[in-house]
Symmetry: C2
Subunit: 213 residues, 2 copies
DNA sequence: GTTTGTGAAGGATTTCACAGCA
DNA sequence: TGCTGTGAAATCCTTCACAAAC
């Protein structure tokens, strides 16, 4: 099943599987840094609190990465999964909204080491336009479509108040963005070919309280 | 199936269903604020980009909330779902880690209006202990168990660097915490009876890049 | 001996489709 | 007529269990 030789895209990979691959990448990266060379699906399962069978099945959608009797080469598997996910290159992102949250996002040091570069920042408030935040000059939202083109921006990050979020998302979609990270507490309307992931700690807390006591 | 009359806990509700309930609460709250009285599963489905059948099936785990031919009373359904999730009361939380991220968490204005009160803040660095952040006096981590007891803290929020996170989570678990919101980029080891939800924007981005182009 | 990769089985979740009720 | 609530069907996902490979 490819990844060996041809670069054919794999069909029919369940979305849940795609969402687990970054977990594998994360734990493999940690272990390769600590000098671990080889790891088994059993060990990965313990680390991630899942069954070894699930890990092997997930990987089997993309190819054969291990050696029977041994396990997986940590560095090799990490590299292959990064390639599958498109993490073997870097991605440009734009943040919309330069309030409290947007400033926290652009100054968050976790994106760049993973290859996500925030290369543009947008705001509606004229007071903020022209200011510099974390080395980025804040632009008017009307400049968004040109910036997306010129800077090959593929990811939009929404950090505006909830009542502006749908409109901003519409503008991102109109500008050709197909991947959106949404910090606003709403479920936006988007076309099928746009992928939206929400970051909402309140939602996470609200589903935890069900289990308390 | 209860919620009418008795307060028997519902058995066997799939976890995915529990995680969707806050989405319903969120959209119902928005619509009740806008003065919408009645809503159908079809309308909810459009708003949340899911099938009406799924919404009805999810709700059916807990009771019968609608009227045939009409739909659901927005305010009533919202109230019932909040009660089911335990959102009809407030919850005390403690944050561990007062670096950049922890400060952002304690000063985030989205928790308190939803009934999540951050009532204690902890740090390992002696330099920070005793300082005040967003009205909270920063405490030593050794004070955690007593604070959890005295202030009925039920939720722990982890905002420490990744290399300290597992240790902090162990301390929270030892202190009796069973619900953890984890901002550190790792999959922690925890006992079965502890619920952990991770907030990691990088992980979200890493699963989106698979779909780009 | 050990561990992978994978069809087949089993289990869980979603969707269908319609009876029942307002 | 319009929409809910729900068994049954369909689909999706996970786990099993073992042949093959080292």
């Amino acid at each position: 099943m490819s990844t060996n030789g041809t670069n054919a895209p794999e069909p029919n990979v369940p979305e849940v599987v795609i969402q687990r691959l970054p977990l594998y990448v994360r734990v493999l990266t940690q272990h390769s840094r600590r000098g671990v060379d080889v790891i088994s699906s059993e060990q990965l399962g313990k680390l991630l609190q899942m069954t070894p069978a699930q890990i092997r099945k997930d990987l089997s959608y993309f190819g054969r990465f291990g050696r029977q009797g041994q396990g997986y080469q940590v560095a090799d598997l990490e590299a292959q999964l990064r390639e599958i996910l498109g993490l073997d290159r870097s991605w440009n992102a734009a943040v919309v909204g330069m309030g409290r949250l947007g400033r926290a996002v652009v100054s968050y040091p976790g994106f760049e080491p993973e290859g996500f570069n925030i290369v543009a920042a947008f705001e509606a408030d004229p007071e903020l336009i022209g200011q510099t935040v974390s080395g980025l000059s804040v632009q008017a939202i009307s400049d968004l479509p040109i910036a997306v083109q010129r800077q090959s921006i593929k990811i939009g990050i929404v950090a505006v108040p909830v009542d502006h979020a749908q409109h901003v998302i519409d503008l991102l979609v109109d500008a050709g963005i197909k991947s959106i990270l949404n910090y606003a507490p709403l479920s936006p309307q988007t076309p099928d070919d746009v992928v939206v992931r929400g970051i909402d700690p309140v939602l996470s807390l609200q589903s935890m309280t069900y289990y308390i006591d």
